[in-house]
Point group: C2
Chain length 429, copies 2
Amino acid sequence: MTKKTWRVGVAGLGTVGGGLLQFLAERPDFAPAGDRAVVTAVSARNKTRARPVDISTLAWFDDPVALAASPDVDLFVELIGGSDGPAKAAVETALKAGKPVVTANKALIAVHGAELAALAEAQGVPLLFEAAVMGGTPAVKMLREAMVGDDVVSVAGILNGTCNFILTEMEKTGRSFADVLREAQGLGYAEADPTTDVGGFDAGHKISILAALAFGCAPNFEAAEIEGISDVELLDIKLAKDLGYRIKLVASAAKTDDGVAVKVHPSLTPLYHPLAQAGGALNALFIEGKRIGRIFIQGPGAGAGPTAAAVAADIADVMTRAVRPVFQAPAGALAPFIAIDPARAVGKAYLRIMAKDQPGVIAAISETLAECGVSIDSFLQKPVEGAGGVPIVLVTHATPESNLLDAISRIEKLQTVLERPRLLRVARI
Amino acid sequence: MTKKTWRVGVAGLGTVGGGLLQFLAERPDFAPAGDRAVVTAVSARNKTRARPVDISTLAWFDDPVALAASPDVDLFVELIGGSDGPAKAAVETALKAGKPVVTANKALIAVHGAELAALAEAQGVPLLFEAAVMGGTPAVKMLREAMVGDDVVSVAGILNGTCNFILTEMEKTGRSFADVLREAQGLGYAEADPTTDVGGFDAGHKISILAALAFGCAPNFEAAEIEGISDVELLDIKLAKDLGYRIKLVASAAKTDDGVAVKVHPSLTPLYHPLAQAGGALNALFIEGKRIGRIFIQGPGAGAGPTAAAVAADIADVMTRAVRPVFQAPAGALAPFIAIDPARAVGKAYLRIMAKDQPGVIAAISETLAECGVSIDSFLQKPVEGAGGVPIVLVTHATPESNLLDAISRIEKLQTVLERPRLLRVARI
């Protein structure tokens, strides 16, 4: 094996970047293949901020694109974030200069993955992004490398630790979404602008990447159907639990003969299912293959330690000189992403209908459901104090989404019903 | 990327070999890197046995060593099994001829891994064995590649599907070990000679390999402390459950400043712990790293489909031309395996003491335990029909194993005690 010292340039010095600098300073020879990795140049928004490691001996770049272009950098690590702007420009610059790129940027890969893969493959350099999904839990490597002897038909899991923390706390403490979000922000688990996390977009980026790896298609974030957790009410968490379910933000991707469906929804998971049991900031994922069957992985989805370790593992992979496509197939051969019309999706659903406490309510609702071809699996009516009406809750048998939406519109119009019924999906896991 | 057709020679045509032949016949171009894999030569004990694929067009070798040496084979797949004999000879022959080797042979790698790694690395060819541990669940790849940016401190899990099936059935149906074993043999889940599985040796091979990958030491099967499940009694399964535990065959490896401890024991796992919940033929593993924290993976541990898919993934890895050591460090730099004296192990334990139904029994036992420095965490006395005495069951606080063994010897000698107390460990998970 030829030994070499890789001069690593790191753009973005937040907690992950700081963790990586610290690790490589202590363990430049960590990679089993024997090469060394030494950070020689850095770039960040603020040069003078207090940091856990001394960066005064490293080359400083105000502009990450200039860092990526520097002839003194052999391997570029992008930890800036964001699907466009400086992150994209810097990654493109590094790839065009024939430098391997390691990134933790899920938005960049989910949105521009196909074109960046084409660029990397044309240049014959790796573009690795293990840290973009599930932090230190190697979901990317599993799908990209370990499952190539199989045909993956679906992946589904919990990919956003912030949402999982919030939902876990809401259930545990009986507090509202807004209340728990404020706490999470105080603890640093949620950003000042939490939209990316609680809006489901972060999970959407991640599941778009996993779908591309699983199915050999180009990542297509635009096609993902995304619903976040900001409208999840405590009432639904409680009622779902009475029915034997826990509400989780489930990201899923499934492939059928018709195409690919990529979704993020607050979803009901059976209480004793491993996804329901993954609490707090944990991430968890099921991978289902035709030959292998079901594989489950679970671990910390974020944090400086795990994410920096994932970046380091990618750096070690670069050193092996492995030549493989960025996704499951060379960029030119990635299958087009054919999104399945969501209305054609078939699944079980949870409906909460707030009704007046009057005779005939249940008859009217169940008649409407029957007319729309929606049949009921379980049913619960329970007075809830201060709920402003009687919540009637039911879980349907598997039903086409279009029938469900039809039923919801009709039920909303019933005289005895107070508001549009709340729809939540039951996770297909 | 240079395209190439790899001529694959497969020695051993059991269910895994058959599954692999079928897969490669259907999908010779499965590997993302673009090379093709075509099986050209095979070897097995019986040429004429009915097989799911037609082998009449392939070169046949009675001797796997001759197959490994054949100039018409570029990549050798060893599915014969056994730590020595033809499997070892053939793998050595292939490596010496500079051919990449893919094997599912856990015994071979656990016993001779270090010398084979040295040979492979001297020749500059990969020696891959994903299928040796957890079938299609990529535990090997995770430890070898994804965890290199971390320091793994322990791995623990369920690595033998046959034992897990037997223990699950014993609990579910209330039948004895011997009974369920016979059923498992009838179903083909257990071999006619079940020693390798139920004696814990198969799990011992696998955990020895994982320890080497996790800690960068040479695999050392000899140093593993192994206890199988043939002495697990239904009585203990029931009593453990009353105390909130399920008995599983847990394989574990832990690294401390003193050295490495590799163990296989029937162990108590808390009922709601993921390892306790992994039933039937499932395999499951926790990996704990200093930076990443705890990762959990679970999946099918055996079977033609999953294992053949793991072999195929290794073949795809060969095609990437990745250059990395066989274990976590080059063979010459593997740390010596320093086994920790089992007597120095500290952990919680389950003791079942069969006593006469007499006054003073509990006083005598608890006095003895106190004298030996063993303190009690939970305690259960429960009449059991036909048990020939009263079982007194307790779970200790964490105690040095030497104290426990001392207490057991002394309790055995008490007048009121009928037999040597049964010791089971509580898994440290």
